[in-house]
């Protein structure tokens, strides 16, 4: 009986990927029919070509060095952005003056084109620091926005209880703010994780730090190696999903009992 449930879960997860793989296969076939010669090679490769490119990449030492280097940069940017966003949210919620001064700046960062920041930071610092800095910069407004809303939505009655029962500020944060903010933290981390990968890899493509996923993606464009472009993109998506799953798993452990 122990294997029945996971098997059922795996089978129920199959139709969506199978549908999209099938659609991809049909589209690649149509491209192959319409554009004679190098259609699949240059426009839309077959899934099997991408799989072969991926298998060839995974077997090399360079692949793992590249993946680890990008993962390190983007995780650093994500972590910095989360800490900074949380600090700014606390500050802007605690002080109306801080809110008046900082909120417009954070909104500008959120609205400004990421390419402008990439070029500016490239000029100010150097290519190696750009992906982490850009990831952090893109994550800060998301975390700030979500946590600010969460802090403002904390139950006033529980805060009154904390004051009346003479909780220290530390106890108020640990016992009331953090558990109340749990859904907002979860939502912020999920969005921020995806954004950190997108912006970080985009920065790598423009700045070409060595080694990096972005640099590899850039070279595939340079050599028109489209199956490899798909393979590196799949690796980026997979890493983003794994990181998101890890963050979600950590948060699921927090509050396991009371949410049942």
């Amino acid at each position: 009986m122990g294997w029945a449930e996971p098997l059922k879960k795996s089978l129920s997860a199959l139709p969506a990927p199978a549908f999209w793989l099938g659609t991809w296969q049909v589209c690649a076939f149509l491209v192959d029919r319409r554009v004679d010669g190098r259609g699949n090679e240059l426009l839309l490769p077959y899934p099997i070509s991408v799989w072969n490119a991926l298998v060839a990449l995974v077997g090399t030492e360079e692949f793992w060095r590249t993946v680890l280097a990008s993962l390190g940069r983007i995780a650093l940017g994500l972590g910095t952005g989360i800490v900074l966003g949380a600090l700014l949210a606390s500050l802007t919620c605690a002080s109306p003056w801080a809110d008046r001064i900082l909120s417009p700046a954070i909104r500008v960062v959120r609205a400004a084109p990421v390419a402008s920041f990439i070029l500016l930071i490239l000029l100010w610092t150097g290519r190696d620091a750009v992906p982490a800095a850009i990831s952090a910069l893109m994550v800060v407004p998301v975390v700030w926005d979500s946590l600010s809303r969460g802090i403002q939505a904390v139950d006033e009655k529980l805060l009154e209880l904390a004051r009346c029962y003479r909780f220290s500020w530390r106890k108020t944060v640990v016992l009331i703010y953090l558990p109340s903010l749990r859904p907002h933290i979860l939502s912020a981390l999920t969005t921020a994780g995806g954004l950190a990968w997108k912006s970080g890899v985009a920065a790598e493509v423009l700045c070409l730090p060595e080694p990096s996923l972005g640099q590899q993606i850039y070279y595939t464009k340079y050599y028109l190696d489209i199956p490899e472009l798909f393979a590196w993109t799949a690796v980026t998506v997979a890493l983003s999903l794994v990181l998101e799953r890890l963050l979600r798993a950590c948060l699921a452990r927090w509050g396991r009992g009371w949410r049942t």
């Binding site: 009655k157 009154e160 009346c164 106890k171 009331i176 558990p179 009992g257 009371w258």
Partner: protein, 193 residues
């Protein structure tokens, strides 16, 4: 003797306390009773320091020496029954948790989450948490709402034995009958008693 002298408090145009005066004995249970909106809860909140009266004074107790049981349970869904008590008790008094739970007839429920408690059990847990606070006056706003009457009377008997005065609000005639002193309020606003 705790004395409320000429307390006045309005919310906008509505006067909730109008030169209200009140004496609370130093021991035993004093019950406040009266129709809704006559200022009973507001009076408890003034004594707890959560509302500031526009006029008048409270003598014989400071808000820091009171413990208020709110009209709502205000339990934390993410803390177990036992944790609700250890959250307000100093570490050296954590051993008192079973006795406090027994006082409100929640023996053995230390590990229970609030979501698994019935309405009456949640009320009793909120009461135990309030009693865990170190206070010179307990202010209990409808402590037995949702609690069955025989159990409420048993708990009230235990409260009467405490060395700290209790001022409670109740609409239940049997609870009022069991209190040491009853203050009946006619209607809004709460006037000189």
């Amino acid at each position: 003797m705790i004395l409320c002298r000429e307390l006045s408090l309005s919310f906008g145009d509505r006067a909730v306390l109008d030169r209200s005066s009140l004496r609370i004995p130093e021991r035993g249970v004093t019950a406040l009773s009266g129709p809704s909106g006559c200022g009973k809860t507001t009076l408890l909140r003034v004594l707890a320091g959560l509302e500031r009266p526009q006029n008048g004074s409270v003598e014989g107790i400071s808000p820091q020496k009171t413990a208020l049981l709110f009209q709502e349970d205000r339990l934390l869904p993410w803390r177990t029954a036992g944790q609700h008590l250890t959250d307000v008790l100093p570490k050296e008094r954590w051993g008192e948790v079973p006795a406090l739970l027994a006082l409100v007839e929640l023996e053995g429920e230390e590990g229970t989450w609030p979501a698994a408690l019935s309405g009456g059990m949640g009320r009793r847990l909120a009461l135990a948490r309030c009693l865990a606070l170190d206070a010179k006056l307990y202010l209990l706003d409808e402590p037995f709402a949702g609690v069955d009457l025989p159990r409420a009377l048993r708990i009230l008997e235990r409260l009467r034995a405490l060395p700290v005065p209790i001022l409670l609000v109740s609409h239940e005639p049997a609870v009022l009958a069991a209190a040491d002193t009853v203050i009946e309020l006619d209607g809004p606003p709460l006037a000189c008693i």
